[in-house]
């Protein structure tokens, strides 16, 4: 066992050395960076180093959150803090290094700012509109430290929280978490301290701690970013929680589609065991813990806690009714706490900085920060961490930069596939568990999709219910059959075959599914449908009674026509039409044969003059 203070001193030294080293290149190598092409950037950097005989240090860091700027690198020289650039490309990397390292000049192209204070002409990245209003607690180390370097994490205050916790009694730890007001970030917002307390009270010979890292919502990647960017934070939180509830075994249920996260977790666990922060007698406290990683096979429903437990036990991932709650009868019948990655990643800061610090952030009912994966029609999509209570508008327009290219925002969808759509008029809603719930949406595990006027809300509802239908485990009839019926009706409506009364049937099935389903997959599955009916009913009606898709999205209701006055007769559309249904001589206006058109939209996207119009004229006009 290594003494914590010795380790801490070593870590600080490692970190200070790194900070004062001349010539460090930090590469954002989370999954997002890798997908965006950081590998190529890294190779180019290495090639440049070889060519120039430069001795640079490469440090691989996690995702700082600004997906819009990937691949992202930070370069640290001349005693200045690292300066972030993005997006960079392999072929521009050489030039960038030339000018910064060789010519001591910071080019302005793709410059994001210094990761630290502003200096010279270089602004601080923290003043960038994307980051200015963010409050980084859970993601504070993301993009800053090398995720697998234990010293980096410790130098940033890591494991001080656990050290404090181990000096307290488990009940005192629980008390602290209760005081902090931490609520579960996995969706339901249940007070974490209460859950721990319940489990501790039910403890007999054995109890388990489980971290839910299944993150099945399509488009959500907050948990992955944390696992990839700062795995020790999660492990510290998990260990603290295990100590509090008295578990000597913990599981991390991570989806198998997160290979990098799993790899880094495994490395981190091994290192912690080496220094005695995991395993027997942690930090000499007498407390022991072993952590297992269980890879989930990618079923959305396995994120539901009882299905998750069944899956760990090797059974089919099907939820079961609660009570008994997992804190009463969980894994192999023993009291078990299941917490989301973000919930657990909040714990080290709570322990280190104190409950009051955490409780001072956030809104009345929901303390701390919210982490969102902001995607869709925004200028700056990415990972966002803001204090609870921030309005949706601030996130979407402030941080996200609003809809790009002058588009108009129509709705924001929160909470993943089972969340709801919030119309533009309600953007001033603060994000916390209660307000979103009241608006018919949910916090969920933290997806936020921005939609503009080119989005058809019926189509959106159809899309989301298709997802939940496909992911239903099939156990209970409301969800298994009800979502299928809703999907069938929505498909009919999108095909222009809606019947009067469909909306009412949708509402009735929706309420049956919501109230009758066993788990919250079914319980929330109707949300996208019911919330779009609530706020965008006229769009449904246009589909049903006029056969018209106001956003011109639903294919069977869309017509492509060529505006004769705008057409220059370039013949591009005719040449590219897969069914050759466009007629017209060169230099003359072209015409689409509506009967043969398969509505592939090729002409629309290829026309250099935007003369091909995509409209949904409605039933009557089509007949003419």
């Amino acid at each position: 066992m290594t003494d914590f203070d010795v380790l801490k001193a070593e870590a600080d030294k490692v970190w200070d050395d790194l900070q004062s080293t001349d010539g460090v290149v930090y590469l954002g190598t989370a999954s997002c960076g890798i997908a965006a092409g950081i590998g190529e950037v890294k190779r180019e950097t290495e090639r440049w180093m070889a060519e120039n005989g430069a001795d640079l240090r490469l440090s691989e860091v996690g995702c700082i959150g600004t997906c819009c700027f990937e691949p992202l690198v930070s370069i640290q020289v001349h005693g200045n803090p690292p300066v972030a650039y993005g997006p960079v490309e392999g072929r521009t990397m050489g030039g960038l290094l030339d000018s910064i390292i060789t010519h001591k000049r910071y080019p302005t192209e793709a410059l994001l700012g210094s990761i630290g204070d502003a200096f010279g002409d270089v602004p601080s990245i923290w003043d960038h509109p994307v980051t200015a209003t963010q409050k980084r607690i859970i993601t504070e180390n993301n993009g800053i430290i090398d995720p697998v370097e234990l010293e980096h994490y410790i130098s940033q205050g890591g494991f001080e929280g656990l050290k404090k916790a181990l000096a307290m009694t488990p009940d005192e730890v629980i008390e602290t978490v209760l005081e902090s007001g931490l609520r579960g970030r996995g969706g339901a917002g249940f007070p974490s301290g209460r859950k721990w307390q319940m489990c501790r009270q039910n403890r007999t010979d054995k109890s388990y701690m489980v971290c839910n890292a299944d993150e099945g919502d399509p488009g959500a990647f907050m948990d992955r970013s944390i696992l990839e960017g700062d795995p020790y934070r999660l492990l510290e939180g998990l260990t603290t929680a295990s100590y509090a509830i008295g578990a000597d075994e913990a599981y991390i249920y991570a989806r198998a589609e997160y290979p990098l996260a799993i790899k880094r977790l495994r490395i981190a666990i091994a290192k912690l065991e080496e220094v005695g922060f995991l395993g027997e007698d942690i930090m000499g406290s007498g407390f022991s813990l072993s952590i297992h990683i269980k890879e989930g096979a990618g079923a959305f429903v396995c994120g539901e806690e009882t299905a998750l437990l069944a899956s760990i036990e090797g059974k089919r991932g099907m939820p079961r009714p609660r009570p008994p709650y997992p804190a009463q009868e969980g894994l192999w019948g023993k009291p078990t706490v299941i917490n989301n990655v973000k919930s657990l990643a909040s714990v080290p800061a709570i322990m280190r900085l104190g409950a009051e610090h955490f409780a001072s952030i956030g809104s009345e009912g929901t303390k701390g920060t919210a982490v969102f994966a902001l995607t869709g029609k925004v200028k700056y999509p990415g990972l966002v961490e803001v204090p609870m209570g921030t309005t949706i508008r601030e996130i979407v327009e402030g941080i996200g930069g609003g809809v790009p290219d002058g588009g108009k925002l129509k709705a924001v969808q929160t909470g993943g596939p089972s969340g709801g759509c919030i119309p533009e008029s309600m953007l001033d809603l603060p994000v916390d568990f209660e307000s979103l719930q009241q608006a018919g949406a949910i916090m969920g595990s933290g997806g936020m999709v921005v939609m503009d006027e080119e989005t058809c809300m019926v189509d959106v509802a159809r899309y989301f219910i298709s997802f939940t239908q496909y992911e239903s485990c099939g156990k209970c009839p409301p969800c298994r059959i009800g979502t299928k019926k809703m999907k069938d009706i929505l498909e009919r409506i999108c095909d222009g075959n809606g019947d009067p009364g469909d909306i009412e049937v949708l509402e009735e099935i929706g309420s049956t599914v919501r109230m009758g389903s066993l788990c919250q997959l079914g319980g929330t599955a109707p949300n996208p449908v019911l919330s779009t009916i609530k706020y965008f009913r006229e769009e449904y009606e246009a589909h049903i009674s006029d056969g018209r898709c106001p956003a011109a999205v639903c294919k069977p209701l869309v017509t492509y026509t060529i505006e004769p006055d705008e057409c220059i007769g370039c013949t591009l559309c005719a040449k590219n039409c897969p069914v050759s249904c466009i007629a017209g001589a060169p230099k003359e206006a072209h015409v689409i044969d509506q009967h043969q058109c398969v509505k592939c939209g090729m002409c629309h996207s290829i026309c250099p003059k935007d003369a091909v119009k995509k409209t949904s004229p409605g039933r009557k006009e089509v007949v003419e």
Partner: protein
């Protein structure tokens, strides 16, 4: 502790669910996925109730009741929700019959045989109107479906033996999956696929014969719809007459509900009443009816004239038999008693022989003789100790000489219950057939030596050099010794050879005593071996198993198939008619190679056509009733024996009804009760009381694949397929 339901307070019992307490107090809550024998599932959502303090409705079937809970079960919004959920279910269940306005009339009038391949409505539902779904429809008053209906159109499974599966009718209550895993310990089927396509199936949707399925039919019995149906009964609809009986296909003595129509047996289903806890096996469940209705039954009494067996009147047949038998001295006559006869029938059989002055009686069983030798000398009676249900409480179970697949298969239900409670289960067997999946299987070269080793390891553990058998024996020995309660089951596999069987039986008893066992049961190789022994229908025994060998009362103690026997009265086929036999009477329901050679044939009954009493392997008294008409001139065995006794001019055959015979047997044969267990004698009183000649012949045609010598497969093709797939090649 109390809970308030719909405004009234009720006492509650720790650990029960809201549904339990409601049922106890006759408060109706609709349910579909719930089944009293199975774990809570909470899937169908029909039992949703309102509980104060809970945000959402909770399923009564899965929610533990707590002190001071306030529960509402009948509010309008609840019923409304239940109705809407039920309608969603019905929208995918071919439910013409359920919501048809003419249902009541139709039920009385609709034709019986339902020949449609695809199920489209009530006329074609194979569920014989035992429809849980309809009960709930009625209770909730659903008479329309407000969402679009849709026929799922999934393929039917019609190639499996015995069982048809049509998941177009399935409502995914999961009862079948649970009964298969929880009660039978088999887990042949599970939920497969997901979303709307979720269904029930085997691994990779392969045929049932390739799965671990044992064709016990438990899934069919718990299915609330007609999704799983027996091939055999789906065409015959509802029985006209129903009754309670006992299965004699094996010695487990399962209580059965039996049904008859057109004077024929049409269905056998396990009943709640027996030790078999509403479970049975493929033989009792699916083979009894086709075997009973076999086309190859013996239908007429026959007598050989001029070398040809010709049909004759009963009088003629009996006269010929009497004349023939009387032509021999008592010690020249032998009798073979079938272990499938009832106690009463066996009692009459021995009375005939003893009336004739002969003790040359043997049971057609490989186990009876060795057991009589081994246990008969060491216990007051040849009888097991403890009951099948006692196995459930045991902490260690040792099964020797059977895999529980076709012999007393239903005991596996109890073994599995023990296993679920943490018992270790060992199966010592030689046949490479599939057995209980959770058992620690040991396959020694031979039973006798292994049992020797096992006993050594119990008495002096770890003294001998390691061998695989020795290590396995050590494992078993320490589990048996560590257990508070142990069960030892000995089956027919260990009795192929009479001498080895005797040794195994002896060692099993010693082992039982050495580990201070709780249950020791012989898994007999015949349906009523125990009952036939109790009836005294074996050499040296009188009713009640009094051993009379030394009394000198009987003139002979010959092996009925041995030297000096000149006339044979057979009620079971024998391997071959010994040389020197001049006259053969053959009585039974089925012909055999032997009956071809008989001088007189007396057509008699299957157990499914007679009346009387049988004794299970653990001494449980079961009663047999029937409403079946026998084929043509065949008569129940007991009537044949009475006629024969009278025709022989013997005393003691003036019985009118079976009940009179039962009384004459003089044993406490109260159905549902157990005869006393066997009691080991004090060491000094033990002796070998019967000689080797008791039952030296064999092996008998009495394997688990036969009934009264008849290969079940000859009448039940599906049985052949299953048995072959399990490696029963006989």
């Amino acid at each position: 502790m109390t809970a308030r339901i719909d405004g009234k307070d009720y006492d509650i019992i720790e650990g029960e669910t809201i549904l339990d307490i409601a049922r106890r107090n006759d408060i109706y809550i609709p349910t579909l996925c719930n089944h009293p024998d199975l774990s809570a599932f909470g899937g169908c959502r029909l039992c949703l109730v309102k509980v104060e303090g809970f945000r959402a409705f909770v399923p009564a079937c899965a929610t533990p009741v707590q002190d001071d809970m306030v529960i509402e079960t009948t509010e309008e919004d609840l019923d409304d929700l239940r109705r809407r959920i039920l309608q969603l279910i019905l929208s995918e269940h071919p439910s013409a019959c359920i919501i048809c306005a003419d249902r009541e009339e139709c039920l009385d009038l609709h034709p019986d045989p339902t020949k449609a391949g695809r199920v489209t409505g009530c006329r074609f539902c194979p569920n014989r109107n035992e429809c849980d779904l309809f009960d709930v429809v009625k209770a909730l008053g659903v008479d329309d479906i407000w969402v679009e209906t849709e026929y799922k159109d999934v393929p039917l499974y019609r190639r499996d033996p015995f069982i048809h599966r049509d998941y177009n009718l399935c409502i995914l209550c999961g009862r079948c999956v649970r009964v298969c895993a929880e009660i039978r310990g088999v887990s042949a089927i599970a939920f497969t696929e997901r979303s709307h396509d979720a269904t029930i199936g085997t691994a990779f949707q392969g045929p049932l014969v390739d799965s671990s399925c044992v064709f016990c039919g438990a899934c069919e019995d718990v299915c609330p719809t007609g999704s799983i149906s027996s091939k055999m009964t789906r065409w015959v609809s509802i029985p006209e007459v129903t009754g309670k009986s006992t299965c004699v296909m094996c010695p487990a003595g399962c209580a059965m509900d039996v049904g008859f129509k057109w004077g024929r047996m049409t269905i056998t289903e396990p009943s709640e009443e027996g030790e078999n806890v509403a479970q049975a096996c493929l033989k009792g469940r699916y083979c009894t009816v086709p075997l009973t209705n076999s086309k190859d039954r013996l239908e007429y009494p026959r007598v050989t004239t001029d070398g040809v067996l010709r049909p004759v009147k009963w009088e003629t047949a009996l006269e010929t038999a009497v004349e023939g038998l009387k032509g021999f001295a008592p010690e020249e006559i032998g009798m073979i008693v079938s272990p499938s006869l009832t106690v009463e029938e066996a009692f009459l059989a021995q009375r005939i022989m003893r009336g004739l002055g002969s003790d040359n009686i043997a049971i057609a069983s490989n186990m009876a003789g060795p057991m009589q030798k081994a246990w008969g000398g060491a216990m007051d009676r040849v009888a097991g100790i403890g009951t099948m249900t006692d196995i459930r409480d045991c902490d260690a179970v040792l099964i020797v000489g059977t895999d529980l697949s076709l012999t007393a298969a239903v005991t596996q239900v109890h073994v599995h219950a023990a296993w679920k409670d943490g018992a270790s289960v060992f199966n010592v067997k030689i046949d490479p057939r599939k057995g209980y999946r959770h058992a620690d299987v040991i396959e020694p070269d031979a039973y006798g030596p292994f049992m020797d080793i096992l006993l050594e390891e119990v008495k002096a553990p770890g003294q001998q050099p390691h061998t695989p058998d020795r290590d396995a024996a050590g494992r078993i020995a320490s589990a048996l010794k560590d257990a508070d309660k142990t069960a030892i089951l000995v089956g027919p596999g260990a009795f192929r050879d009479a001498a080895e069987g005797t040794q195994v039986a002896k060692l099993a008893l010693e082992l039982f005593e050495a580990v201070n066992g709780t249950v020791l049961l012989p898994l007999w190789d015949g349906g009523n071996v125990q009952g036939v022994l109790e009836a005294g229908a074996s050499r040296c025994l009188t009713p009640g198993q009094c051993i009379e060998q030394d009394s000198g009362k009987y003139s002979s103690g010959r092996n009925p198939l041995g030297e000096g026997i000149k006339a044979l009265y057979l009620t079971h086929p024998v391997p071959e008619i010994p040389e020197g036999v001049e006259f053969v009477v053959y009585q039974g329901p089925f012909g055999s190679q032997v009956s071809e050679r008989a001088d007189v044939i007396l057509p008699s009954s299957m157990f499914s056509e007679t009346e009387g009493t049988v004794i299970s392997l653990d001494g449980r008294v079961g009663s047999i009733t029937s409403d079946a008409r026998l084929p043509n001139m065949a008569k129940p065995d007991w009537k044949v024996f009475i006629d024969m006794g009278r025709a022989l001019g013997l005393d003691g055959f003036d019985f009118e009804a079976v009940a009179d015979i039962t009384e004459a047997v003089g044993l406490p044969l109260e159905p549902g009760t157990h005869l006393p267990p066997g009691e080991p004698l004090p060491e000094g009183d033990r002796a070998v009381r019967v000689d080797d000649a008791v039952n030296p012949v064999g092996p008998w045609p009495c394997s688990a694949t036969r009934y009264r010598g008849r290969e079940i497969a000859e009448d039940v093709e599906d049985f052949l397929e299953v048995a072959a797939s399990w490696g029963w090649d006989e």
